[in-house]
């Protein structure tokens, strides 16, 4: 697996390539000089204090946020203003949000089949069969005909994961998937994510679940003030953090 510095010698092209990327909100420089390469099947955990730009970074990868400078390429397609490229990339990059963002007016099953039917033009029957398969995998096939509002937070997040998987994505982005959940529900979502990691899915997770990072991640990236401060494999990262900022952050979140 990969060690700290990933590229150049590797022959296979990275699925995500970010080079010298910068982003501003008005005058505010949120992302500074970000360079990152992710290879097929890699699992990356991004952590850092709130406001450090980690969510913004992964939201740039499927263009929910626009970057102003530098390059982002997914599967060799560069993200630019071209709508066709953006929609193509979004088809192949799944995303789960902190607040799930399920569609409350559709049932769980309809949530899962909507995009395959309308975007991938899958026949309804087939889409429903695939959706049930994934609902099975996240262990809530019995809730298929309920509305999202009738489910618990943990169940909703698992539906959201199943919904993304129904598009058969190559890359999954997780934006603090467990931050809005009660402690009892965090585990059920993490279990699903660990299962997913075992299948070899390329994953980028913004999370504060350090246990998850230790078990699953190939690399941990620490961000602060819009920059990547440190990047290492999890054992090294947690046991032997190099920068002072990382040490301070880790001491704060691991002290309890």
């Amino acid at each position: 697996m990969t060690t700290e510095n990933n590229n150049k010698t590797d022959s296979d092209e990275p699925v995500i390539k970010i080079e010298k990327m910068n982003k501003w909100y008005g005058q505010f420089h949120v992302l500074r000089d970000i360079s990152l390469q992710v290879k097929q099947g890699e699992r990356i955990v991004v952590c850092g204090p709130s406001g450090s730009g980690k969510s913004t970074l992964i939201r740039c990868i499927n263009r929910l946020e626009e970057h102003q400078d530098g390059l982002i390429a997914v599967n060799g397609t560069e993200l630019s203003g071209d709508l066709k490229n953006i929609e193509a990339i979004r088809r192949d990059v799944g995303m789960c949000f902190q607040h799930f963002n399920l569609f409350p007016h559709l049932t769980v099953l309809e949530n899962c089949t909507l995009a395959p039917i309308w975007v991938r033009k899958t026949p309804r029957k087939e889409a429903e069969a695939t959706a049930m398969e994934y609902l099975e995998r996240v262990k809530i096939p019995d809730q298929a005909n309920k509305y999202p509002g009738q489910l618990s937070g943990g169940q909703q997040q698992r539906v959201a994961i199943a919904r993304s998987l129904c598009m058969n994505p190559q890359i999954m982005l997780f934006d603090e998937p467990t931050s809005a959940l009660d402690p009892e529900m965090i585990k059920e979502v993490l279990d699903v994510m660990i299962e997913l990691a075992k299948t070899g899915m390329t994953m980028i997770c913004v999370t504060h679940e350090m246990g998850f990072a230790r078990t699953v991640a190939d690399r941990v990236i620490f961000m602060d003030e819009g920059q990547i401060i440190e990047e290492n494999e999890p054992e090294e990262f947690f046991n032997n953090p190099k920068s002072e900022r990382t040490q301070k952050f880790l001491s704060q979140i691991l002290s309890h």
């Binding site: 979004r90 399920l102 409350p104 007016h105 995009a115 309308w118 999202p148 919904r163 598009m167």
Partner: protein, 460 residues
């Protein structure tokens, strides 16, 4: 001391029924009759309770008196038949030169005698079957659509929104409209330009800006194509006698104006609301301009301008039908209101819904149609129906440009000397009010049913 903090439940707390004062008729009686008044715990609260009881009784008395006198007028003292065709005599007291001794209530024979005028206006007698056929078609179509479990609902809905208006137009006017060859050529050329240009631009052959605008071009081109088709159908001559719209009247005009306004204002309003939130400045400012223009002027002014000023701007020889002008005016006017109602719903949709949809790769039209609008429109059903009801009642304003709607037709019936009695006009107004109320209340009930049906609960 040590065990004072520890507690361990050994047996589960039983599930008990609520106290008897919290269920059934006792709860109802308490909640609705006594909760605010029956408190005699102290002198102060006893005085308050007595005052509240007195107030309740007084209000109840006045309410009952009003309702009773209405029932008295409309039903008990009312005159129902006119067997000897005495006309005004049957509804006038002896002192007024009639035959009634004592009090006179509503004069229903007047309504019966003027029924045709009230429903059809001055539509020619032998052509009334056309209006009747239309009313029946409309009633069947609407009933079909309102019945949730009816088969072929979407097909019937499409029919009612596309073919039915054309049939209605041909039936009511007689069809055979003549358009100048210039109109035909212009429209055909424009349609080809917009539709063709849009389709080419959609393939990204004309550059970024045109690509972004291609959807708009195609929609507008499609609109023109529909217009062309409409012109074609309305120009067909099926041998029906032509009936001038100036001869239409009564309920017919009210329904034509209201239904056209309702059917046109919702889609137009949705487009305007989306346009106002568009990221393309051209579309945004056009929408804002349109909405603010129409919202800024009173409907009466719109109607006056359509009948007095519009002819000044049109080239000589081009004439717009008076009713058509009113229809367009009412539709655009209510579209502006509708746009703001819909925009309110759009603003209530959390950003996460857009992001969730975009992250799945849905295009803007798909996202809008499948995710955003269903939720936004559901939220604003009360506002939409409010606008519909307002529109329905505003149709009475067409009277001022010389169209006789339901109210206008009833009022014009008052002028018949053969029916001049003191109770004629109260009867007429009572009828007008009841008819409007029935239509508006039905809309209100249906909207509540719809809200209930679409409620998936648990908003988030």
């Amino acid at each position: 001391m040590s065990d004072s903090l520890a507690y361990l439940r050994t047996d589960a707390a039983p599930e008990l029924p609520p106290p008897s004062s919290q269920v059934g008729w006792r709860k109802w009686l308490w909640d609705n009759m006594f909760s605010s008044m029956a408190n005699f715990g102290s002198i102060g609260s006893a005085i308050k309770s007595i005052l509240i009881i007195l107030l309740t009784v007084t209000l109840f008395y006045f309410g009952a008196t009003v309702i009773w006198s209405l029932i008295n007028f409309a039903l008990i003292d009312a005159i129902w038949t006119d067997p000897d065709t005495l006309k005004r005599g049957v509804c006038a007291t002896v002192a007024q030169g009639g035959i009634v001794e004592g009090k006179v209530g509503a004069c229903w024979p007047f309504v019966e005698a003027k029924g045709k005028l009230i429903v059809y206006g001055r539509y020619p007698e032998q052509e009334l079957w056309r209006v009747d056929a239309l009313f029946i078609g409309l009633a069947v179509g609407i009933a079909w659509l309102l019945w949730d479990k009816a088969p072929f609902r979407s097909q019937v809905g499409t029919f009612m929104l596309t073919a039915f208006p054309l049939i209605a137009f041909v039936l009511l006017t007689g069809g055979g409209v003549e358009y100048s060859s210039g109109t035909w050529t212009t429209l055909i050329v424009l349609t080809a330009l917009f539709l063709g240009g849009g389709l080419i631009a959609a393939r990204n052959l004309l550059g970024e800006v045109m690509f972004a605008l291609s959807g708009f071009l195609i929609v507008f081109g499609g609109f023109l194509a529909v217009l062309l088709f409409t012109m074609f159908v309305t120009s067909l001559d099926l041998g029906l006698v032509h009936v001038e719209t100036s001869n239409w009247g009564g309920l017919l005009v009210t329904l034509v104006v209201a239904i056209t306004g309702i059917v046109a204002s919702l889609p137009l309003g949705i487009l305007l609301a989306l346009g106002r939130r568009s990221e393309l400045p051209l579309i945004r400012y056009l929408s804002i301009g349109f909405i603010e223009f129409w919202r800024g002027i009173p409907l009466i002014t719109v109607l006056f301008m359509s009948s007095v000023m519009l002819p000044l701007f049109l080239p000589d020889g081009v004439e717009f039908d008076k009713l058509l002008r009113a229809l367009i005016g009412v539709a655009l006017f209510s579209a502006a209101y509708m746009a703001e109602v819909v925009r309110g719903g759009l603003q209530a949709i959390p950003k996460g819904q857009y992001e969730g949809a975009m992250a799945l790769g849905l295009s803007y039209p798909q996202m809008t149609r499948l995710i955003i609008l269903p939720q936004a429109l559901k939220i604003v059903i009360p506002g939409i129906v409010n606008t519909f009801i307002g529109l329905f009642k505003d149709t009475t304003l067409v009277l001022i440009i010389g169209l006789f709607d339901l109210l206008g037709a009833i009022q014009s019936a008052f002028s018949d000397a053969a029916w001049a009695t003191p109770v004629t006009s109260p009867t007429g107004y009572l009828l007008a009010a009841s008819m409007f109320w029935v239509f508006c209340f039905s809309m209100s009930r249906y909207s509540q049913h719809l809200e209930h049906k679409l409620d998936t609960g648990h908003k988030r």
